[in-house]
Symmetry: C2
Subunit: 139 residues, 2 copies
């Protein structure tokens, strides 16, 4: 379970908010659709709301709706909103002085992986929520 699924849950919630206009788009309904607890959904919704992707109204008959056009929301926006962990993590440890590798590998690796992270984020930025919604509706 130690794998972050918030990103995919977030996409699900946003897609549902985009598709099911009119019907009750509440965290309770989402929880059923995603098959998790309303509380967990609310936690994700809260992040999306703070990131300006989702607009929520409180009170009775409160609901969730996209804050902007689905075309204007990329998967990268969602990725950042839930602040998913980096693709790679570099192990951290004190440098062992006599060892050249031990002292310098971290910087070298970080530099290299920054490129990879960027490649991934660029790819995410090219996929819009709208394309996901279209795909879902097509079937």
């Amino acid at each position: 379970m130690a794998v972050n699924t918030q990103f995919s849950i977030a996409v699900h919630i946003l897609a549902a908010s985009g598709c099911c206009r009119g019907e009750g788009t509440t965290t309770g309904k989402f929880a059923l659709s995603v098959n998790t607890s309303p509380s967990f959904v609310r936690r994700v919704v809260s992040k999306l709301s703070k990131a300006g992707l989702l607009k929520t109204t409180t009170g009775k008959s409160g609901s969730c709706g996209l804050a902007k056009d689905a075309k204007m929301i990329s998967l990268l926006d969602i990725y950042r909103a839930v602040d998913a962990p980096k693709a790679f993590s570099i192990h951290n440890y004190p440098e062992q002085k006599p060892c050249l590798v031990s002292c310098h590998i971290k910087a070298s690796l970080e530099k290299a992986l920054k490129k990879t992270q960027k490649a991934m984020e660029e790819s995410l930025s090219e996929i819009s929520l709208a394309s996901i919604v279209t795909e879902v509706n097509k079937k």
Copy 2:
């Protein structure tokens, strides 16, 4: 700790194997350099060995050495050798029949994320172990 650091440790080990020719490249030495236990290093070494990236000799004065030229080893090779987790994981749950999104989102998302995973792997394949070694030696 539920973050996979084996990849970066693997790179460290391979870099050390490339740099420190001659000196004792044993799992014990690596453990000091990486600041972890010899046993854990051996587990990673074992994977790298099976993947054909590292050549080990057993017995007294056994050691580790690159199985091929550092130029011929990409970070993608290493990534695959330690079988690091995918960049994204899609949450799994039973489909909720009446909900269109619940039934179709998974396939749509998988398709989209496959692109991203591929972008990441392509980026990794463009970085060679040799470039890391050069970087380390430069300093």
